[in-house]
């Protein structure tokens, strides 16, 4: 298992010498931020605030580009240039947490006087030299490290935790504080330093310019939409000549087999399990699910990665021996369980009679600590790993979980149901947190009947007592609002 760290660090007071190209260094910015996220079991509360330092750089249009993880859940941001002592309060204009990029702007635009923007370049060649600029741990001045591009591939971005995009691997030292710094080749930005590998020496990762350009194009309409998808999973099964023959795909044809299409996605009505995808636009898909692009062999999802939400993709596929071509619209397609960490917004919740319900998500599951994937209750693990295949409810927006019980006489017997996913309330299926207040309006014989997935006994709460105790509990535990629903 890879342990990846984000290259942000807490403030240090040591001084470091800088041996940087003066012009380029003038465009590199130190970003200080104060962050405070939400508690994911009792989402009306906020966690302890923390402070961090990262790097950014000036791009055209008087913007500072940096990593989203430098400013996630931020309460306050300030930016500084190496040449001056003055600190400029700033604001986050756009944050793309799925691609770990963000735009920050100082409130006072004089910050940009006597600065010049850095130009965005292309994907560097393997084995070519790059220089990383930033404010890593160990000093207050810019540090520059040189390294070689060693690999370019799809990989997981550790800030969201689940999203995969193209990454460039380098042996240039990327340390805490380098986050958001430009990686330069021929005086152009070829990447943004963002994460490293813990168990290896000098393995750092850059966000390539394909991802940067996607982000910058996306925000041109003043809204960040994010990276889209089609909503299918595939299997590289055509290595088996028998499978290929069984699927009636011509011998010389390469491609991958569709396994599953997710409900409410463009792929759902377009593709079927057993279809063989052979081309995305003009890119041939090989038996491993790779395409040739930028002189590299990269995962086929790169074709989707390059498109903005709402754009079309031309898909060529075989079904029952017949070749088909269809257009599919790229959409956001968020899953019923949010596999990526969420930032900058309060998690939704509903509290009733001390029973706190939230959406099952990675953020909530990570409250089990570092080994959350193995220590969480089995039923949550089962849902987390299999939701996309076992959910056949097109109306399902989430799995609601009883994340906390605020002890009171009315919920004394609720403890066995703590952290369990909700199936129904008063025989009304719960497919979204919004369903909970509605379902609570229909008690059965004076009781609220809560049924949980994987539990053979219901939780029964006296409706009249619950209604009486509800405001008292909220007052007792300082809950201002019964719910927060988007």
């Amino acid at each position: 298992m890879k342990y990846i760290y984000l290259a942000i660090f807490f403030i240090s007071s040591q001084i470091n010498l800088a041996f940087a190209n003066t012009n380029l260094s003038d465009s590199v910015v130190m970003i200080r931020s104060v962050n405070q996220g939400y508690n994911h079991t009792t989402p009306w509360k906020q966690e302890i605030m923390s402070q961090g330092v990262g790097t950014g750089f000036i791009i055209s249009g008087n913007k500072i580009l940096t990593n989203a993880h430098n400013i996630g859940n931020t309460k306050y941001v300030e930016v500084t240039l190496q040449r001056y002592a003055k600190r400029y309060p700033a604001k986050v204009v756009f944050a793309g947490h799925d691609c770990d990029l963000a735009i920050v702007e100082p409130i006072d635009k004089t910050f940009f006087n006597e600065t010049s923007p850095l130009e965005i370049g292309q994907i560097p060649e393997i084995n070519s030299k790059v220089s990383t600029y930033g404010f890593p741990v160990g000093g207050k001045l810019i540090s520059v490290t040189e390294g070689v591009v060693s690999r370019i591939q799809m990989d997981t971005y550790s800030h969201p935790g689940a999203d995969s995009h193209l990454v460039i691997q380098t042996d240039a030292a990327i340390n805490p504080g380098n986050s958001g710094g430009p990686v330069i080749q021929n005086n152009k930005v070829v990447g943004v330093a963002f994460q490293g590998l813990r168990q290896a020496d000098n393995i750092g990762y850059l966000i390539p310019t394909t991802v940067i350009n996607h982000f910058l194009d996306d925000i041109k309409d003043n809204t960040y939409d994010g990276f889209g998808s089609l909503g299918f999973s595939y299997y590289p099964g055509l290595h088996s000549p028998s499978y290929k023959s069984f699927l009636k795909v011509p011998n010389e044809q390469q491609g991958v087999v569709v396994l599953n299409t997710q409900i409410n996605t463009p792929a759902y009505n377009l593709l079927q399990p057993g279809d063989v995808l052979t081309q995305f636009d003009d890119y041939d898909i090989d038996n491993d699910g790779m395409i040739q692009i930028y002189g590299l062999r990269i995962g086929m999802s790169q074709v989707i990665e390059e498109k903005q939400i709402g754009e079309n993709l031309n898909i060529t596929f075989y079904r029952n021996g017949k070749k088909h071509q269809e257009n599919a619209k790229i959409l956001l397609n968020r899953p019923v369980i949010e596999y990526s960490r969420q930032y900058d917004s309060q998690p939704e919740y509903v509290v009733f009679a001390g029973l706190t319900f939230i959406k099952l998500s990675r953020d909530y599951l990570e409250t089990w600590g570092r080994n959350w994937s193995s220590t969480m209750p089995h039923i949550l693990k089962y849902l987390f790993q299999n939701a996309s295949s076992i959910n056949d409810e097109s109306d399902r927006k989430c799995y609601a979980v009883l994340s906390e019980i605020l002890p009171d006489q009315v919920n004394t017997y609720a403890k066995p149901f703590h952290n369990m996913p909700l199936e129904s309330i008063n025989n009304i299926e719960i497919l979204d947190l919004n369903n909970i207040p509605e379902a609570l309006e229909h008690p059965i014989d004076g009781n609220h009947i809560f049924k949980f997935i994987g539990h053979t006994i219901p939780l029964v709460i006296n409706a009249k007592i619950a209604t009486e105790r509800h405001p008292i509990i909220n007052n007792n535990y300082q809950i201002k609002n019964d719910s927060y629903l988007k």
């Binding site: 290595h239 088996s240 000549p241 028998s242 499978y243 399990p273 089962y382 017997y413 006994i457 029964v460």
Partner: protein, 498 residues
């Protein structure tokens, strides 16, 4: 109660202050103070289990040592946990300086008991049989005895502490256990426990708190009586699961009268076992044999005090009618449930596979097995965190509930890499749905399913949970099987129990 506490304190002080003296005295006093010396035996078994994950192989040979006692002239009683999966068992006793081979006559996995017998000619003199007494007085001292490999008898002391219902060491069966504490010597390996010189049980477990659990005389006597006619039928098992019913709101929802404060909630009905045919989910079990069951599922036993209601059912042979009262649809209903045992064959996912070879079939390198608890345990004791959650969910939901369409869960355990299965090498732990379009209900279906659609060039395997179809070329299969068995040293490509 006060006296009992004082006694405990005295014992504790004695063991704290004079441990060496106690041990020395115990050993020296033994030879002439062991009351059942002619009945005690030392048992050693050689165990070479079949590998669960690679069932054509055997695991490392292990030796187990434990104890037993004679219940007839040539019959020995011990716990089943020492002899399960044994290839060879031998004993040593006071009657002979030689090791004597023995064989299993009857084994009761559910209750963790076993009868071993030896040839009369192998013993110079018969054993002195002992019988077990149901008397058990909590707070009173107990003694325990065993005979070791070096032909010496030993004695230990402890205090009778509790009676509880606990799952058997070998099965899901809830069993009554006597609990003794403050043992002067380590117990837990089937030593004979006595109180006031009367045998009361065999040791089955110990823990870090110096407590030891005993299989008590009533369970032993039930087993011995069952074996008397030369046929072992087994004793009653529960055919349902229950949950405490202490939440007043839940009781009110079930319309239980406020004056009815007892009764336990029936949460799940199994496919077999006592009550499985008559009880329904959401019933409230109020009485068994006219004895009220409280909301925690306990009752006051005339001998043992407050214990779990399970004892009222499991302390019976099979085919006995037990009157019960349940709350169902706002009424009290009187039922008579027939006691029956719950065997592994009644389970979709067997709890254990003692003394049995795991069934499997390898076809073109695809390793098919039935999902069992031992299979899940291959990944360690904390099985839920290691095995695929999809498989574990089957275990949680279906273990006690096979259906007509799903007698067993057949899985593709892994793929043994070969050219014929190129492209599928990383598939593992996926549930088999059908072969050549035929739904798979159990591993026994595989040979028939594979022989279907002979006109087709391919054999197709479909799996649950969005896994790819595996397609194997029918013509190449036989040759591929030969190559795989030779290359990987697999001497048998399938094993089906007769």
């Amino acid at each position: 109660m006060k006296n009992k506490h004082q006694f405990h304190i005295l014992i504790s002080l004695w063991t704290m202050l004079f441990p060496i003296i106690v041990i020395a005295n115990t050993e020296q006093l033994l030879s002439d103070e062991i009351p059942f010396e002619d009945s005690l035996v030392y048992i050693e078994s050689a165990v070479q289990k079949q590998s669960v994950y690679q069932p054509w192989k055997t695991e490392e040979l292990k030796s187990k040592s434990f104890y037993g006692c004679a219940v007839s002239e040539y019959t020995i009683l011990t716990t089943a946990q020492g002899v399960v999966d044994a290839n060879f068992i031998k004993i040593k006793c006071k009657q002979s300086t030689q090791f004597i081979p023995v064989s299993i006559t009857f084994i009761d996995i559910n209750n963790n008991l076993c009868l071993l017998s030896c040839e009369p000619s192998s013993l110079p003199a018969p054993f002195k049989p002992i019988s077990f007494s149901s008397d058990f007085n909590v707070g009173q001292p107990v003694e325990f005895y065993w005979f070791n490999r070096d032909a010496k008898s030993f004695k230990g002391r402890a205090i009778a502490d509790d009676v509880m219902i606990k799952p058997s060491a070998l099965s899901f069966n809830n069993q009554i256990n006597y609990v003794v504490s403050n043992s002067s010597r380590q117990a837990g390996k089937s030593q004979l426990f006595c109180q006031k010189n009367k045998p009361i049980g065999l040791a089955t477990w110990t823990n870090e708190n110096n407590e030891c659990g005993l299989i008590p005389a009533p369970v032993i006597n039930l087993f011995l009586e069952d074996c008397l006619d030369g046929v072992f039928n087994g004793s009653a098992s529960l055919g349902f699961a229950s949950k405490s019913l202490i939440d007043p709101a839940h009781r009110s929802h079930l319309q239980l009268p406020k004056s009815t404060t007892h009764g336990v909630y029936i949460s799940e009905i199994y496919s077999a076992g006592t009550g499985s045919k008559d009880l329904k989910p959401e019933d409230v079990l109020l009485e068994i044999n006219n004895i009220k069951i409280d909301a925690y599922g306990r009752y006051i036993d005339s001998q043992y005090g407050e214990i779990g209601f399970e004892y009222l059912i499991t302390n019976n042979p099979i085919n006995i009618s037990i009157p019960i009262k349940v709350w169902r649809n706002n009424n009290i209903i009187e039922l008579h449930i027939m006691t029956e045992t719950l065997n592994q064959t009644d389970m979709a996912i067997p709890f254990h596979q003692y003394n049995q070879r795991p069934e499997y079939m390898i076809l073109g390198g695809l390793m098919f097995q039935t999902l069992t608890r031992p299979y899940i345990n291959v990944w360690g004791e904390d099985e839920s965190s290691r095995v695929s959650p999809y498989l574990y969910q089957y275990y949680k939901k279906m273990a006690f509930n096979p259906t007509k369409d799903r007698k067993e869960i057949v899985i593709l355990s892994y793929v043994i890499p070969a050219q014929i299965n190129l492209g599928y090498h990383k598939l593992r732990q996926v549930v088999l749905k059908s072969i050549n379009g035929m739904s798979i209900r159990s591993l026994d279906d595989l040979p028939k399913a594979i022989s279907l659609n002979k006109e087709s060039d391919f054999i197709t395997f479909e799996f649950e949970n969005d896994n790819p179809v595996i397609v194997l070329p029918r013509e190449q299969l036989s040759q591929a099987d030969n190559e795989i068995s030779q290359r990987y040293g697999i001497n048998q490509l399938s094993y089906f129990r007769p």
